[in-house]
Symmetry: C2
Subunit: 203 residues, 2 copies
């Protein structure tokens, strides 16, 4: 894990995102951007491990990460993937200062920008625009998570696979087979069968 | 659906909940309580139907409700149940004023107290304590929903059933078999097999 010595801000997508925040003042914009620092992760490197307290939230400028949990029975459950323009962090650990039950691991060499919990708290108290964005993002993520869960319960493995490639086509080319299966809640063998059947039908 | 004519506030658990809100002033306490109105639902009656805009959020004083979605393939997916001291409403519809994709239906004769979207918005602007509770509740619900989803993916139907009766033992006695199966994401037949096997083992 390498914190870049280059202090010039590199992530234009993030600068635009902050600039487009409703009701933001130029001063808030500057304050927010100054709180984020660059961070490079090599492929397979961890942003967060189970048992650690999550002290940072990060925005993905380039790359791909996997948010997962390991259970006592040895099973891995992938909660979500994060690509460019997504946020990574463990909310429960970050906000409540408790050990995380989950991992965030890089699946490619990735470039992120992160904010520390201290700076996060400072901005939540001083910037109404920042506070509002965080609240809205959390709420949207919650609504989406309920929707995903409702669909997951009513769909077969194949239906969940088709929905996944429709909603997030980049997963297919950037995520290992084993992690895709753990995201869909099926075995790697079942995923192979689904892929094989669909490929045969398309010929 | 019957809005009680009796204006005296009946739900002591809710009064206590409001009173115990961190940092609340006596004036805020009064304002919040005055915004909530009683509502009675008969068994099977709907609090919200798909396609309607959710104009109220309610607190369950007594009873049990089911939050579900019906898919085009005819499948029903139960997102959650709500018992005493739970909240019901469709956040996406309520906050964004758009038709709900889901239903909330009573599974027993139930007593609720609700707040309208207008009063909700008013309180969010005037009461810091109310705003803070709503934000924290949404965040906690999101964290729990991610956790449930991670566990669901890694567990078999039987494991999900055992977890459900451990976390929410009241479901067994108060929810119809078909809805329990739709909550677990399995067929009613699979649920019968799981129940039969567990009952046989316990003898």
């Amino acid at each position: 894990m390498k914190q870049s010595a280059n202090k010039t801000f590199q992530c234009q997508a993030f600068v635009n995102l902050v600039h487009d925040t409703p009701g933001i003042t130029p001063q808030e914009e500057m304050e927010i951007i100054n709180c984020f620092k660059p961070l490079s992760l090599r492929n397979k490197e961890f942003f967060l491990k189970e048992g650690e307290i999550c002290k940072r939230i990060a925005y993905v400028c380039r790359g791909c990460l996997c948010y997962f949990r390991l259970f006592e029975n040895g099973k891995k459950s992938v909660i979500q993937f994060a690509f460019e323009d997504w946020w990574v962090g463990d909310l429960e650990s970050f906000l409540n200062n408790k050990p995380s039950a989950n991992f965030w691991q890089s699946l490619e060499n990735s470039e992120l920008i992160y904010i520390s919990s201290n700076d996060f708290e400072k901005l939540m108290n001083t910037s109404r625009a920042f506070q509002s964005v965080f609240i809205t993002k959390t709420r949207t993520a919650y609504i989406k998570s309920l929707e995903r869960s409702a669909k997951d319960k009513s769909q077969s493995g194949k239906e969940r696979y088709l929905r996944m490639i429709n909603d997030h086509p980049q997963i297919i080319n950037r995520v290992p087979h084993y992690d895709v299966a753990a995201y869909l809640g099926i075995t790697p063998e079942s995923l192979s069968r689904i892929r094989h059947k669909l490929a045969t039908r398309q010929r």
